[in-house]
Symmetry: C2
Subunit: 213 residues, 2 copies
DNA sequence: GTCTATAGATAGATAGAC
DNA sequence: GTCTATCTATCTATAGAC
């Protein structure tokens, strides 16, 4: 292992397992998101890192496992953002609104994540199904929704018997779609769902949720 | 050209340009939808038709053009369904509801279309952009929404100044998401967004729109 | 842990006879 | 319009030296 005291003998190369792994994951995330699973090239990923293709196989075992690792990390990021959610001090309506805003902003700021999820759906979510880590990861957002709905019903603010998973799906659907389908929607209808300058009310958020819901 | 009066000399083969083209498109649609653009194999598509790979290149020119033709036909189908929409006799609220129902049912019944659109988004909608046909195809659904909104505002039923494209995006988002993200959502949350038996209110429609909106 | 070189399989595309 | 055979490039994966 190379530390700051013991510089690498090959200049420009890294000799730090964790760092090499992280760099491979960074590049692989971009490549898979850009070209899809089959479109991504292990050679290209290797060429864009400071390490070699041999190391990708050494660390991850193969293309399939690399993609799974990319997915695991991407889901880890959004789950962490959800865990940061602090809506306990808000009234139920404001809490739901806040949750929607956070989802909206997160998806807009992480288009690569949206693309990876779309790609994984094309492949029937087989990598998620095979991943132990992703099976155990849960969903803080869903827990938060459950608590908000309970509180809203208890205080009489919410009357309809809305299901937490349904509500999560509704919020996700809109936030996901405007990023995932940005290109076809733009090409067909001449409006960029993400760019605020296009004049769409669906383009704006960042704390001021002004959708036509 | 082979007509009904002049049967094909090779039994089991087709000698009808239109029919051969249609059969290739059918198989290619399934293959592209199943495996993605790069995952689909021209050899496999050919093997599943009654013609050969040479004919695919003869009729379409290449894999890229074949995918474009698949997209053009898939969009043609939904645009035709939209044109069958007959909501002029309904009041504006019922008309919007009916439009949502038709979109909901169409997407549920055409998962291959949803997958093709997802795949096209991964590739930045470059095939749509390059297709003259898809540039001119328009959107009957959007025209219908515009008319409904005008009527609703005129009669005073609708007060909010909702934009037609925004409304179209909202309806599409939910209907699209439950099919496009069915697999990851199911794997992560243990609920099938499409299968009605899973107990979700998002699973039912077919004329009785009962979403938690 | 890292490198070069290469195996082994398969892809998209085409030649050319009929 | 249809067929068989094949070219050329490229991809994932690995062997083996250091």
């Amino acid at each position: 292992m190379t530390s700051v005291d013991e510089p690498a003998r090959s200049p420009g190369r890294i000799r730090d397992a964790a760092r090499t792994r992280a760099e491979i994951l960074d590049v692989a995330t971009r490549e898979f998101a850009r070209a899809g699973y089959d479109g991504a090239r292990v050679d290209d990923i290797a060429a864009r890192t400071r390490t070699t293709k041999r190391m990708i196989y050494y660390y991850f075992g193969g293309k399939e496992q690399l993609f799974t690792a990319v997915l695991e990390r991407a889901y880890g990021v959004i789950r962490e953002a959800e865990q940061q959610l602090d809506v306990e001090h808000l009234d139920p309506v404001a809490a739901i609104r806040r949750l929607a805003e956070v989802t909206f902003d997160h998806h807009e700021q992480h288009p690569d994540f949206i693309r990876l999820v779309s790609i994984e759906n094309i492949h029937g979510a087989e990598h998620i199904a095979a991943s132990e880590k992703l099976g155990r990861i849960g969903s803080p957002a869903l827990d938060v929704i459950r608590r908000i709905l309970d509180e809203g019903r208890r205080s009489g603010l919410f009357t309809a018997d809305v299901d937490a998973v349904d509500l999560h799906a509704m919020i996700s659907a809109f936030c996901f779609f405007r990023v995932s389908n940005r290109h076809t929607f733009g090409a067909l209808f001449g409006r960029d769902l993400v760019d605020p300058a296009s004049g769409s009310t669906t383009g704006r958020c960042s704390g001021t949720w002004s959708s036509p819901i």
